[in-house]
Symmetry: C2
Subunit: 186 residues, 2 copies
Amino acid sequence: MLKSTNETVLHCYPGLVALVTAKHEGVQNIMAAGWHSYISYDPPIYGVAIAEERFTHHLVEGSKGYAINFVPAEYAHYIERSGKLTGKDGDKFREIGAEWIEGDVVSAPILKDAYVAYECEVIDINTYGDHDWIVGNIRKFHQDKSKFNESGLPDFEKLQLPLYLGRSNYLIADTTTTLKKIDMKK
Amino acid sequence: MLKSTNETVLHCYPGLVALVTAKHEGVQNIMAAGWHSYISYDPPIYGVAIAEERFTHHLVEGSKGYAINFVPAEYAHYIERSGKLTGKDGDKFREIGAEWIEGDVVSAPILKDAYVAYECEVIDINTYGDHDWIVGNIRKFHQDKSKFNESGLPDFEKLQLPLYLGRSNYLIADTTTTLKKIDMKK
């Protein structure tokens, strides 16, 4: 039974976790962000919530750039490691074991194991409560098209998606996941 | 193989669809929004992308309020109907078949069939590209606690979640979905 309450309900999952990377003055970092969203299709714009105290935050602010990386389920441990280690202690990419390449347009690193990544240039940062909502124009896209079918949907034979549920639990979208076409009928 | 491209890659799914409701001067509407995110935990703040030309947009702007509703898979047809019908033609709630109650704090209707809903008061609206990113303080939460287990995660015996994939396809998170606890090890 639906009941109203003043107790904070944090329902944002299951959903994709964005691995956010940034680089400034030779220093780079990666963090896991659960709160992120597409904002505009044309021009393409992506937003992500990053708390001001995060090490990645000042790299994004300083360089005015960041990348959003999505990894397949087999690399979901990058998400857990990104969440538990801090870039203040050294080269987080090496500790996590994630290989990367330079972005084409933006200095932020792109994960080689990502199936989709966006290079973003910051256009706005607003503080709302305990996070900053960072908005960026997507200047370049990266995609492993071999993992998608002709209609643009993931091919679950080739790509399993880790959907964060909470408390280190993930739903894995794969070929066994219930898939339904839903129309206007009940 | 990950390749860079200038072609827009719209990867934001699978994910929860927010049914956004609003009411202004006696007129109310409901729409389906795929682009939405939590922004702050304390204070609780939620954001959603709504294009300026949407009928719901002026209700949100006028009333300075909206509600975010999440429905179980058995009501996923509300999402499809909300997406395909327009409020400009009359009472969309009746056409969709969705029952609602008045919000406690904000005038926006709350769907009786939702398992979680947030009543939000607008604090900021920014135009980014082809959508407005609307940010609101969550003033009241609604939850059907009977559908969640003690650790706060959904109980898939009681609650199946419709995760929009694209083209009216939904992954349904249920008891058969692969569930993994992922730690720092590969």
